[in-house]
Point group: C2
């Protein structure tokens, strides 16, 4: 079943050498007491919990899956016990509001926790993960009464949460949803409808499940402007927080899926279930977006977690398995054959995994710190700039990291050869688990439209230019350093290309909006690489300066060079594809397909 | 569970309009009686068998898997009965030698049969598929006695066959294999060892299973020059062909795998099993290569089959599922939303599937005709030229088509969105099944080394130049036609680029052999695209001429334009990656990983 060693050194490198996490947090009154030692201690404990408690359940949970008896679901063996430990250790409350019992720690720390949990098991981690999303949503949009009733138990993790959006006939297009909410005399609503694909939708790990449900009020207009958000508990809590009557919100079936077998993907029937309005009537989609944006970052972290765990196990295998001699001569002459890490294409796959994992770590931890700024920085201009970066880059985190994770978990299988295809070895589960990350919380195609259509062209490129200015500042600062030119030149180049490509697509889109959809997916990969090239250039700078200190920096520098030599160049193909436009997509008439 | 409609019109287009299958076969005395009507009738019947008998078993077989009781394996429900029908209808004997009861039909027809069978179910088709490989190997290398005893039953399909190569410690590197063969007094050998990953290794679909086993004789030298090939039957046949004693060649376990659940992947223990030498002592690997080359083509056909079936079902879904409005305005205003085929990125995915399927069909049917020439053409120069093309392009068929199939089956899932991840809808099975095609019969990385190291650089580029001359002749013939320039120009361009890239890598490899391994995988994709660009340009030419006849040709032309606009450009990235060389792979020391 392999192994997981939390990459503490690399996390610390990112948090303290690449980013000044401590110094940045200290600017915020809420986090002024953060210091390096505290951060490291918490991350280390998180890694211990993930590797020793969660990771051992990942493969057994995949094989066992969830069990539906009547309308009750049992999670795989050990899941409930591990979750109890999670709650008792206080991990659920890490970054929650102290007013409701949370520890008030920065998002940056919660993010590090989630990296390690996602490497250990994305399916297990989705139980607390969705709860945290429900907490966020209620915290931002719920009335004081709802917050007082629900948040304390969501903060501790005693209750878990879900997001009930999708219906059989609509996923991407929530404007089509049909679930209905009719007002009751007591201020509550009766909600009726069928929701599908509800992750963590029913289970035995917590005493209550708090569903956040989108439905239409009787006077709602059609489309997305007629959708309201409701909180629908499995058990209706009494005023003192004890559990009251069972609400008619039942699991009707569990889906059989390609992966994440141990997370219960439920069809949820609401049969006049009692719910309470969250936020304003007909403004449910906006309220839910809080949760969806957090979820998209969470999915990006799943991508990082899966890339890292697949890398660790492929690397170990490549250093133990002997097969064939290196073309350039025996590397391990004392053995019958060379370790397969001697073969250039095996190295290519391992370095691809490594470069994408480390690039993702730099990017996501930077992003978490931007979110901390957005939420907690005293300077409004800083908050605004951070919010813009978060808005622009959320679809990149979601889509670029999960596309990379699918590629990388497949490299992990390929390094194992036939043994990678065998369930026992664990590598193929990472592929099956990674596959959903490209689909849920908005498919990666939807992310690409969000990036290009809304986030870039929607504000005439302002947010993209702001991020581009950060890149340009780095290029200008380090362009004069000869040792940095191997990194700064391609970074400047990809930055220029993104600018030109964006202009070109923007001009074409004024003639035909379909040009956006025709270019968006390859465009997303090009922008993703610009972001990664920026973070790899920054990491290379540190590694160049410290390479004589220890091999950690030499490895970082080698991985940076690999990134610029072998991965960034794929943009050459994507730019051509993005520029190719819509004509060849539209010549084919629908009935010719 | 979807649907499968054999693409008869497109197969006929390839066989009769793109390729002159009838005319070419008529040059061969063995196939002089072939005509278009006979070819079409056989292909139509093959399609009926595949779609009505095999396809309905694909999903149920995946869910049920194979069952091991003691050492006996039961295939999923219906598999045995379908196989009986296959044998009775004579499909197994289609292209086998009439001397042993075969029908002596060309490989081109067998190839068409296998396209449809692989769309219907690759896991079921591997039972007859491996048998056909065993037939080929015995037919070419067996003594008259062995041929007389085994071939008639392999030809009818009453007995099935396997290839027993892999051992726990060696797959790619067969030089490490340890199974032993010691001579008996009666001319047979006693064989002892453990073989793993034996596809179709044990089952209840046929009364006997003929294992072709690699093992070492007592006096064998180390490495690949000390390996001999043996035929090891499950039941030792009596001279009259009836079954005699049970040979101690037993299934010890079945693997749990990511996909192809319904094909039994067996661990086979040979415990002094009786075997008979096939071919010369110590020349087993060369003899097995006959089977492996056929198997590699077979795996390429699995790639085509899976791409086609995933496309068919994704296309149907995209025309039925409504979700969101097209960005450029409502396409189906009478509906609540547009059919998702209206969205450019959905079209991109569907057209990618279609272009790769149709390109693969053109390429593989051309290749099958080359094999017919190699085997049956009266002119030795024609046979030699065909053999060179087959040798050069076998790794491309195997690797390029299966990499494309993995991409395309994933597009199929993505078109379905969340519903693609759900087992019931059948789309995720195609991904899981496609994944093994990139691994077995030599991983795609091994294919890339075979292509660049052995087939191209190994003969100083002679075979590649010969194929390049075919491409050049087309470019020169049609370069003067203005209507063809949109196809001929990029074809000529990629041909030039392949030539330059090959020269460059060849020069670098003279300094450092690891340059071959560093460039081989992206190089393989570049050459694969040159081949596809050639066949797409040829198809475009026909479609241009006939586009006013019916929409079939308009669709072909549109797909050709899509291929050149959106798929061929990915070579820009791969060329840069191939040129980036080995330096960035080797800077990283093994212990830094």
């Amino acid at each position: 079943m392999g192994q997981y060693i939390p990459p503490l050194r690399d996390i610390q490198f990112v948090m303290h050498e690449l980013l000044d996490t401590e110094g940045t947090l200290k600017q915020m009154p809420a986090h002024a007491d953060m210091d390096v030692d505290t951060i490291n201690a918490i991350v280390e404990e998180a890694g211990k919990f993930a590797s020793s408690i969660v990771f051992p359940l990942n493969q057994s949970g995949d094989l066992e899956g969830c069990t539906l008896n009547g309308t009750e679901v049992t999670a795989p063996k050990g899941y409930k016990e591990a979750y109890k430990q999670y709650v008792e250790a206080g991990w659920a409350s890490l970054s929650c509001d102290p007013e409701y019992g949370g520890q008030g720690l920065p998002i940056s720390l919660n993010n590090a926790l989630y990296e390690t949990l996602n490497s250990a098991s994305i399916a297990w981690t989705m139980y607390p993960g969705l709860s945290h999303g429900a907490y966020d949503c209620l915290h931002e949009h719920g009335s004081d009464e709802l917050k007082g009733l629900y948040l304390p138990k969501l903060v501790t993790g005693e209750w878990t949460g879900t997001m009930c959006l999708t219906e059989p006939h609509c996923g991407t297009d929530l404007g089509l949803l049909r679930s209905k909410a009719t007002p009751n005399d007591d201020g509550s609503y009766s909600i009726t409808g069928t929701k599908i694909f509800i992750s963590s939708g029913e289970h035995d790990m917590a005493e209550n499940i708090i569903h956040l449900v989108l439905a239409r009020l009787p006077d709602a207009e059609k489309g997305t402007k007629g959708i309201s958000l409701f909180v629908v508990p499995k058990f209706i809590p009494n005023a003192d927080g004890s559990l009251g009557e069972r609400n008619p919100v039942f699991c009707a079936r569990l889906e059989h899926k390609m992966g994440i077998h141990s997370n219960a993907t439920a069809e949820i029937n609401l049969d006049g279930a009692k719910g309470w309005l969250v936020g304003q009537p007909h403004k449910g989609l906006q309220a839910m977006f809080v949760m969806m944006n957090a979820a998209r970052l969470g999915v990006g972290m799943q991508g990082l977690g899966l890339t890292e765990i697949s890398y660790q196990n492929a690397r170990t295998y490549a250093k133990e398995r002997i097969q064939m001699r290196a073309l350039s001569g025996a590397k391990n002459p004392e053995k019958e054959a060379d370790f397969i890490i001697a073969h250039p294409d095996v190295r290519r796959m391992l370095l691809t995994q490594r470069a994408y994992a480390e690039g993702a770590r730099a990017f996501t931890y930077w992003m978490a710190l931007e979110i901390d700024k957005e939420l907690s920085h005293p300077d409004e201009a800083v908050r605004k700039a951070a919010a813009d970066n978060v808005a622009l880059l959320t679809p990149i985190i979601k889509a670029f990291l999960t596309d990379n994770a699918f590629e990388c978990t497949n490299h992990g299988v390929q390094v194992f050869g036939g043994h990678g295809f065998i369930t026992d070895n664990g590598m193929e589960q990472y592929v099956r688990d990674a596959r959903i990350t490209q689909i849920y919380e908005g498919t990666n195609g939807v992310q690409a439209l969000d990036l290009l259509g809304r986030k870039v062209l929607g504000d005439m490129g302002a947010k993209l230019r702001a991020f581009g200015d950060i890149v340009k500042a780095f290029v200008e600062e380090h362009g004069v350093n000869p040792a940095m030119q191997e990194f700064v030149n391609p970074l400047g180049d990809i930055g220029d290309k993104v600018g030109k490509l964006t202009m070109e697509i923007g001009m074409k889109a004024m003639q035909n909006q379909d040009e956006v959809g025709a270019a968006s997916v390859p465009y997303q990969r090009v922008v993703g690489h610009m972001v990664f090239a920026y973070f790899w250039a920054r990491m290379a700078k540190i590694a160049l300066e410290k390479q004589d200190q220890d091999d950690f920096y030499k490895a970082k520098l080698a991985t940076a060079r690999f990134y610029f030599a072998k991965l960034l160049p794929e943009t050459a193909g994507y730019i051509r594809q993005a520029r190719a436009g819509v004509a060849s997509l539209n010549e084919m008439q629908d009935d010719w397909f």
